[in-house]
Symmetry: C2
Subunit: 361 residues, 2 copies
Amino acid sequence: MDAAAFRSHFPVLDSLAYLNAGTDGPIARVAVDAAAAELRAQATEGRVHSHFERRRALLTDLRAAYAGVLNCDVAELALTTSTSEGIGGVLGGLGLGPGDEIVTSDSEHPGVIGPLLAARARGATIKAVPFKDVADAVGATTTLVACSHVNWLTGELAPAALKEVPVPVLLDGAQGVGAIPVDVRELGCAAYAGSGQKWLCGADGTGMLFVDAAFLERVSATRPGYSAFEDASRGLDSTFSAEARKLDAISLPREGVALSLAALELLTATGLEDVQARAATLAGQLADRLRGSGRTVAPRAATTLVAWEDADPEATRERLAGAGVGIRNLPGTPYLRASVGAWNDESDLDRLLSALDAAAG
Amino acid sequence: MDAAAFRSHFPVLDSLAYLNAGTDGPIARVAVDAAAAELRAQATEGRVHSHFERRRALLTDLRAAYAGVLNCDVAELALTTSTSEGIGGVLGGLGLGPGDEIVTSDSEHPGVIGPLLAARARGATIKAVPFKDVADAVGATTTLVACSHVNWLTGELAPAALKEVPVPVLLDGAQGVGAIPVDVRELGCAAYAGSGQKWLCGADGTGMLFVDAAFLERVSATRPGYSAFEDASRGLDSTFSAEARKLDAISLPREGVALSLAALELLTATGLEDVQARAATLAGQLADRLRGSGRTVAPRAATTLVAWEDADPEATRERLAGAGVGIRNLPGTPYLRASVGAWNDESDLDRLLSALDAAAG
């Protein structure tokens, strides 16, 4: 599929220079149609036995698809509502407390901060260092590293040296999965949490968590739902699955799962590698053009995020929204951030730069 | 609204004697339309700032609506994906371990069993007794009672004596909220978890958790998402809200929230008290007719569930599905279970009884 044909799947691009996939991706027409069909079927056919069979089939397909994206076994893949839920499931399930030290960076997303604060409330120590230093900060007292794969503020990559640290590494892959090639084996991480609704263009409330088979034994199910059980009819004699599904979200709606699955099928049919290569190229072009226009671009890697300094990011974001350009500001920082996907083209970058100039002028 | 007009809102009733709201309620046309409109808007307008503002407004409305149904303050109401998530949030957030004893019944749903097993894995003792004995089983070593408000297998009510026990009571209200009048003050419970998708006819993946303001101080956020924060831009210096939203589900999709809200507005406009009274009357009629036909109905109260013995519940459920009757069997028990709502009428009961006779004959 050529770039223009791919782009035409996303209605929002008809009216907006949509550069916000780092928050939520654009939704394809086929994806919203898939969700709407599942909704109508629930209303007309009822949510009886066949409804749950249909949902189970969609969940099975989504689990396999996500496992394919991360290059892990299906048994190592939990379906979640969000990256945050995956991070929380691992940090909560390790039973960390006094004597445990978690190394993290000083620029993590609230989806990591929240579970870290919960672990600290249970007695664990949090050691926050600059993002580039997370591997070097691991010491004799460290239990675990928990940090971003791709820094959500800047687009930097986690240090490659994380692969060599002698403790398990839990990666927040919210800006990784779908955006850049991810191979959890190659990364050498014990766990990797990702979002369905960002770079995979799925529904809000979908996500994934990889947990390495060996590490999985150490992660208890603290919020088990129906799919965590080996056999839920055994009451208090029940046991939980040994697979990652013991960490599944409790209730994922059929329509949302169908939306995320249809979106992923579109990306896969187009070729995820091509999609990612094109996005990286466009993002690099944007960074160059911003620098060329005299703006200060935050340090970044060959990812899909581009952040740059602005005197009043919130006001500029609002003015850009009025000009049909969808980006975000990052509260607590001097940055505006554009998320560049393969659905974008140079006209979107042109609109962003023109609107920025107009806002500055 | 008269009963026939109310019934006409639910398309599934055109083809099915739908008696399955104890699993998932019927979906009204207005509710599916509301969800579909929110989906289309996300695709065409993008998921930019205005998307999150719209979602926040819907969440605020849903929180207020659920608080109204349970008769609690908005600050005591967390929005969840399910009853199970609410139960797990409370049991997990209390930090129970060795020395803690949780009294429960021997006929709880997996949504209670799962979190109980997780608490047991952390060292707590689980004391399971017959449902009618849960109040009497509370002793000097008991920390908490966790059990159903309405027994999901039979339709019995939890003992009124629970109001007097000297420990906090956590109720699984999956078969309570929406089905029968619920007043958490009158029940005297510390926490009450309910479902959005059952008797309130909402989306899968919606639910609510009431936690009494005083008890809330003891329940830590173990899986905090964005709405748990007072101010998420403060990083590791952040604090969590003192309100129940610290226990909110991490990511609730806009379309699902809109569906549940539209469904609840329909029920409220019709009159929730009338809806509940009509359902209770119809359920009582069904129980009488089943007994009259020589069947053994499980002990029940004036609720909306009717369970009765069958020689092969799974096979009968399947045969009934073929005859256009939607009920469920209850694995591990001899029961079939019908869930009777105000959307049903006598023709649905007729179809059920005829189909049962045909299946038996």
